[in-house]
Symmetry: C2
Subunit: 388 residues, 2 copies
Amino acid sequence: MKIELPIQADSVGPVAPKVAQFTTPLQLRSGAVLRDYQLMYETYGELNADKSNAVLICHALNASHHVAGWYADDPKNIGWWDNMVGPGKSVDTNRFYVIGVNNIGGCHGTTGPTSTDPATGKPYGASFPIVTVEDWVAAQARLADLLGIERFCAVMGGSLGAMQAVQWTIDQPKRVAHAIVIAGAPKLSTQNIAFNEVARQAIMTDPDFHGGNYHEHGTLPRRGLRIARMIGHITYLSDDAMMERFGRVLRADDFSFHFEVDFEVESYLRYQGEKFAEYFDANTYLRITRALDYFDPAMKHGGDLSRAFKDAEAGFLVVSFTSDWRFSPARSREIVKALLDNRRDVTYAEIDAPHGHDAFLLDDPHYHELVGAYFLRLAREIEHGSKR
Amino acid sequence: MKIELPIQADSVGPVAPKVAQFTTPLQLRSGAVLRDYQLMYETYGELNADKSNAVLICHALNASHHVAGWYADDPKNIGWWDNMVGPGKSVDTNRFYVIGVNNIGGCHGTTGPTSTDPATGKPYGASFPIVTVEDWVAAQARLADLLGIERFCAVMGGSLGAMQAVQWTIDQPKRVAHAIVIAGAPKLSTQNIAFNEVARQAIMTDPDFHGGNYHEHGTLPRRGLRIARMIGHITYLSDDAMMERFGRVLRADDFSFHFEVDFEVESYLRYQGEKFAEYFDANTYLRITRALDYFDPAMKHGGDLSRAFKDAEAGFLVVSFTSDWRFSPARSREIVKALLDNRRDVTYAEIDAPHGHDAFLLDDPHYHELVGAYFLRLAREIEHGSKR
């Protein structure tokens, strides 16, 4: 008789966020210095005796340190990569010690624009510095120090998270054995920057933005955030996936001949925009999109991505999705090419998925099996004590 | 000795817009009725004796009746398709009598939301009805009546203009010999509607919009229009064309680490947005995007586009551009397929052009020669008095 496992068996279960306090000032790429900051993080699984099984998961635009499991007091708040990380899942927490961390500039508890500036006793707001992918990696490295992790078995992320994994291999080549780079790009295209800029302009021209000091004025630039999120959502989905999901389905029998919701997709976008504007901080949105724009590891090498990877030592798993038009497979292949130029160990997979950029978050069996197989290889490396 | 022709030789030269007044009420698809309206139009070339050489040109989102030539008092205001229409050009005004017309709901002199409502003596504003592609065709047909044109040699347009050309062949099959359908689509995709909806939301949530009655409040929803135009611009250009034109070129040597202009593309988009917000009417923008959303000739035939064309008699030239991701070649091929199902005479050309949707407005020699060749065929038909 087959015993059905409860749903929880596949989940890390209830988790609690942790806070890491840092008092050594962090010099940022912009020239600004961040004193006295904290990082929110979560951990799943157990660190092994020789501390060789740690996996760092970097988040993309709007996610956080809450990667897997749920909160006891908020069981519907499930981690954003819960389908990927857990006991028996692709990133198996029975084998790996997994860390999720919220980046500086964020709005989920890590020091960011909504935090209190110790110098003034008021929220940083507009005065919070611009942060970059390099800054995030530097801050994450300090968290690793605090946790006693000299070297990550893997640093992993999708989209902007993938960019952080790439930056780790460049800035901290000795501290990362493998980089898992999913739905990434070596830098934004002009079109990517253009969409970011429209989103920022929507926020910054919202009369409730007040130059970023909206908290002082008792307002929130919700209109701008709504528009920013709606634009983002379109770019996360493929044209086909939107057509498949919403088509041209009307909410009524005929057109309304007004500007309220006619098509299901309008309702969906408005809902997504509203929801986002309720919880996300506008100053954080501006900073994260700017970090995306600025990410360009080849820049200090005259645009030569191969040279950017010259000191990288990690092994790489690079994954792209066929229908992703935000960071298309061609962008991932640029990374693969640059790695091969450096004779790096790289596995590349182009997943045939219809969902667009969002595919990296979705439960595609082929994709999850692929990542799982790569992590099995890492588990064997750990078992045999092989150092890459 | 070769004599250089002055630049004007290829242009229709100075032109003047005309006004057509209509007092018979126009029943709109929405159920609303438009009384006492006017259409702005321009004509180039001469109508021949048997009135068989008339070409109607339909405009897309933000253009107007000003298709070719310039205004004596504003010589820099050159018609939007001046590279296509003129003496010796693809649509040769030495052979054809070409008409450009501004659609109802527009903001270039034709009755629209900025016009005075005779019932109130104030601008229509929000009370101006929703208009559709069918309504535009009906209004254009009345202009043809007024000009004594029983049958157009061709009805021609790009993008939304192409949709009007398609609608002509369905609603007025006896009155159009040829339809020139450039960079069109048989209906918007979900993604197309989604982009329109974000643009509309940007306008409608601008505090200066006042439910569409901004004139009464002495305001203009410029912020919303800016955002709408910026979004539009991104969808008109291909990713490659943007990369080619702007790349990731910075305005300074390094990043600014603020949110003002860093990248050239940001400057370009802001400029385009500003310019548009100065001259275009927000209520018109809402209505034209809605007309795009609602266009779907197959809808009343259970989604069967082939049946929608069952009464069409015209010959068709259908043109698409390889890099157009707004209305991709696949969308044009849907039209071609439906026409072939009806054994219609159709010429289809997919132009290898890098510019995206905007290619239909640009001076691509291959494209212009192709259209010119098709019009030469029409000229021969007229010459031989052949009725399609």
